[in-house]
């Protein structure tokens, strides 16, 4: 089992629960929540090394959640997942760097590669 602890945040519940099963199958310690406030609550209680966040979520969107995590938990790596290259639905969004973004649908191998990749690579 890997020491890496991964938190997945996506309002698509069936997607994240399936991803958690697949990551655990491969020996990673993975947990999922379906919204930003639940993710922050969990981060206050438990240690996570990597958080994978869907950019489009009701209420607190992924970019807001990323900013809060980077402010309050600077040691945690954040990866963003998006359905499209420009995931805005008309809103102007601060698109993050390509290396921090996963384009849906992604394979489990790509996800694990990004989780294991050192920041900025």
């Amino acid at each position: 089992m890997s020491d890496l602890r991964v938190l997945l945040v996506d309002d698509e519940e069936e997607l994240v629960t399936t991803l958690v099963e697949r990551l655990r199958w491969r020996g990673l310690q993975a947990t999922a929540v379906t919204n930003g406030p639940a993710a922050l609550e969990l981060l206050r209680k438990e240690r996570y090394d990597v958080v994978v966040i869907d950019m489009k979520m009701p209420g607190m969107n992924g970019l807001v959640l990323r900013d809060l995590i980077q402010r309050d938990f600077p040691a945690v790596r954040v990866l963003l997942a998006t359905g499209h290259g420009r995931d805005s639905d008309g809103d102007d969004m601060d698109m993050p760097q390509e290396q921090d973004v996963l384009l849906k649908p992604f394979s489990i191998d790509v996800l694990i590669d990004r989780i294991n990749r050192p920041p900025g690579k």
Binding site: E14, E21, W25, G59, H84, D87, P105, F106
Partner: protein, 211 residues
């Protein structure tokens, strides 16, 4: 209508169509991403079987149910998009107002949820058959719906209902509107539209004749 007005109307109509189809493509991409991972989970189980692990039949049943739920969800999304696309077929179509409203609310639900506002339709009452342009009417109602959900507090519910008022058809949108000075977007955008005194309902007059 002058050439310039006509061009503006065409652009506005295309923008509306674009907003709707972009939102639906996001929904379908979510379904596709989920099915992709469920298929991957099935592969994981099969790989386990090949390497001598047993598969619990309940696990397989669970995977099967997940696939069924997602394909059913995709079918509903596609059906809604198809019905919406056909509203642009004929500007003098005969259509039922409650049915049009259900299509529109179904298609807008994901957009309003981004603002943590839920949309729902009231129980269908008397059928209201109209003759006119269902696409333009959908656009008018959409503009007012967007205005309404951006003027609502988060975690609100907006209920849309088709009805009659005197001798004309109307659409009523009900929910908790914010106070006028808190509104970010000014008055409702459609012309023939009234906000109730208690600021809980807006009534949109439908510019189509009875059929």
């Amino acid at each position: 209508m002058g050439a310039s007005d006509h061009h503006e109307q065409t652009v506005a109509a295309l923008q509306f169509f674009g907003i709707v189809t972009a939102s639906v493509s996001h929904e379908l991409n979510n379904v596709n991403s989920t099915i992709e991972q469920i298929a991957g989970l099935l592969e994981d189980h099969l790989a386990g079987l090949q390497s001598g692990k047993e598969i619990d039949p309940d696990r397989l049943r669970d995977v099967h149910q997940r696939i069924r739920r997602q394909t059913r969800r995709a079918a509903e999304i596609i059906e809604r998009l198809n019905r919406f696309a056909h509203t642009a077929d004929d500007p003098r179509a005969r259509f039922e107002l409650g049915g049009l409203l259900e299509i529109l609310v179904g298609i807008c639900r994901r957009l309003s949820q981004q603002r943590r506002v839920e949309l729902q339709t009231a129980a269908r009452g008397e059928e209201i058959w109209l003759e006119g342009d269902p696409f333009q009417l959908a656009r008018t109602i959409f503009d007012d719906l967007v205005w309404f959900w951006t003027s609502c507090p988060t975690d609100s519910v907006i209920e849309a209902a088709a009805g009659r008022e005197a001798d004309r058809a109307v659409v009523r949108l009900a929910g908790p509107l914010a106070e006028p000075d808190a509104e970010p977007t000014g008055p409702p955008p459609s012309g023939d539209c009234a906000v109730s005194g208690d600021r809980r309902t807006i009534t949109i007059a439908v510019p189509c004749g009875s059929a």
